[in-house]
């Protein structure tokens, strides 16, 4: 449903951020984009979601080219403290974007309550974001996105600024929400465990300029579980495969020092 073809982005300063990136996000699927820090993942996501003009290539949602943020897409941003409105209650934060999509106020109220309940924030509707912990604030941002009923939910390193335990909880929250709603999810992360744990497919990006190094189908059973899934031998295999690519080791069979150094130099010179 979301198609990305030969996407290019060159900034006006001449910096090339993205080179020829192609992949698809299909219906009812979780796709994770991983890559080293500073690889231009956020730039890529902004191009996909219509927030940033692309220099070339095609992004289409259900066959329609994306030129501005689509009505059928919702976003969750990395920094929850900068993406919620501190002057509004949790409820109004979630309700604000719904006005242009769902005309009936009663209907909107139901959607807000359902979304808050889905992310485990029953009873926090009249709190203010700054009264909540970081993890809870990010739940509000997720509630806002799912109340919008998108076909594609786009998330930019959504758990990068919360602690490890909260992070695991939020990962499971995304899995359960996705399973319930059937929304497609495109999630950017630099955490390889997270990518493998969540994804049906992992798109591995190189360092700048971003190219697709590999697309890995993750064939792990659902529903996934933080302990069981992560202790499967196949989880470890996916993990190492992705890790090698991200580190620029390619499909290296040979772990000799020479190959290591050679490959690292290659990555640096890129």
């Amino acid at each position: 449903m979301l198609t990305v073809k030969n996407l290019n982005k060159v900034y006006s300063t001449g910096v090339e951020a993205i080179r020829d990136v192609s992949f698809d996000v299909r219906e009812n699927e979780i796709v994770c984009l991983v890559g080293p820090s500073g690889a231009g993942k956020t730039t890529l996501l902004r191009c996909l979601s219509g927030l940033l003009d692309r220099s070339g290539g095609l992004v289409a949602l259900d066959g329609q080219a994306v030129t501005e943020p689509p009505l059928r897409m919702a976003a969750v941003f990395q920094d929850y403290s900068r993406s919620l409105m501190p002057w509004y209650t949790v409820e109004r934060n979630v309700a604000l974007p719904l006005k242009n999509k769902f005309p009936s106020p009663a209907d909107r109220r139901d959607r807000v309550n359902a979304a808050l309940s889905a992310v485990g924030l029953d009873g926090f509707g009249s709190s203010y974001p700054w009264q909540l912990s970081g993890g809870m604030q990010q739940r509000v941002a997720i509630a806002r996105a799912i109340a919008y009923e998108p076909e594609v939910l786009v998330m930019d390193e959504p758990f990068a600024s919360v602690d490890a335990q909260t992070r695991a909880d939020l990962e499971d929250l995304v899995l359960s929400v996705q399973a319930k709603t059937g929304t497609s999810v495109l999630l950017v992360t630099h955490d390889i465990d997270e990518a493998v744990y969540l994804a049906d497919r992992v798109v591995i990006l190189s360092s700048r300029p971003s190219r697709v190094l590999d697309i890995v189908d993750v064939d792990l059973p659902r529903p996934r579980d933080q302990i069981e899934t992560k202790s499967l031998p196949r989880f470890a295999e996916y993990r190492s495969h992705v890790l090698r690519l991200v580190r620029g080791l390619g499909e290296a069979q040979d772990f000799s020092a020479a190959t290591l150094i050679h490959n690292e130099e290659k990555t640096r010179s890129v």
Binding site: R82, W130, Y148
Partner: protein, 255 residues
């Protein structure tokens, strides 16, 4: 000594000391220019409570608040437009800078010529000089919305009106309030000056008249009243500001 310095009554000590010194130093004063504090307080009671309350204090305050509110509303509305529409800003910025450079008191003769010595001239002058601090702070405030919130506004396709009312103005509010506080001081100055330069009533008028008719204790009581009134207005302002910007102070305190 230490216990005195830590006492919650410390902020009251200096004013009490000043009043006491004034009271005793001026007691039994025979100077025409510096009457005793006791005489000033008697004049205060006789003049303002409540002989001239309805005829002068109320008109002064009403004009001040009317001009001030007009300025705030206009400053916020125009500021939002100039702040968010580049072409409008380019077109009007030079004129704004020019108009702002004119000292408002210099416009008093013009205002009297055009609007007479009634309420209209005074309200117009107060509004004129209070307009600019609000305007400039609003322009700056609505321009510097957190980039994360700009992304949210765009990706959830908020309309122009929703962005203005739900994102840009609230986010600029701390800065707008700073401008409004500056303006409140201006309003007070202009309110009194306009009453001293052509008026038939008002606190400034009575105070100047007292000086000219040599009732010096009434003149001093006017100073006292202005001080009290100014402090009360500012306290009221701070109260409203803290109520309205609770999110701002609380969310800053949390980080």
């Amino acid at each position: 000594m230490n216990t005195v310095l830590r006492s919650p009554f410390l902020p009251l000590l200096v004013p009490i000391a000043i009043i006491a010194t004034w009271w005793f130093a001026s007691a039994g004063s025979t100077s025409v220019f510096f009457p005793s504090l006791q005489d000033i307080l008697i004049a205060f009671q006789e003049t303002w409570l409540f002989a001239h309350f309805w005829s002068d204090i109320v008109p002064s305050v009403v004009r001040l608040i009317a001009g001030y509110i007009i300025a705030c509303l206009a400053g916020i509305a125009v500021g939002l437009l100039l702040g968010r529409v580049r072409s409008l800003d380019a077109a009007f910025q030079p004129s704004v800078q020019f108009a702002r450079a004119i000292p408002a008191v210099a416009l008093i003769p013009v205002a009297i010529l055009l609007f007479g010595i009634g309420d209209v001239a005074k309200i117009v002058l107060i509004a004129f000089c209070c307009f600019f601090p609000v305007l400039l702070n609003t322009i700056d405030g609505v321009r510097n919305v957190e980039s994360g919130l700009e992304d949210v506004s765009r990706s959830f396709r908020l309309t122009r009106w929703q962005r203005a009312v739900s994102v840009q103005l609230p986010s600029a509010m701390p800065q707008i309030f700073a401008g409004m506080q500056t303006s409140l001081g201006f309003a007070f100055i202009l309110g009194i000056v306009t009453e001293m330069t052509g008026s038939a009533n008002g606190i400034g008028f009575i105070t100047l008249e007292a000086q000219q008719s040599f009732t010096i204790d009434t003149m001093w009581s006017g100073m006292l009243l202005l001080g009290i009134l100014g402090s009360l207005l500012n306290a009221l302002f701070v109260l409203i500001e803290h109520r309205s910007l609770r999110w701002h102070y609380q969310s800053k305190a949390g980080h």
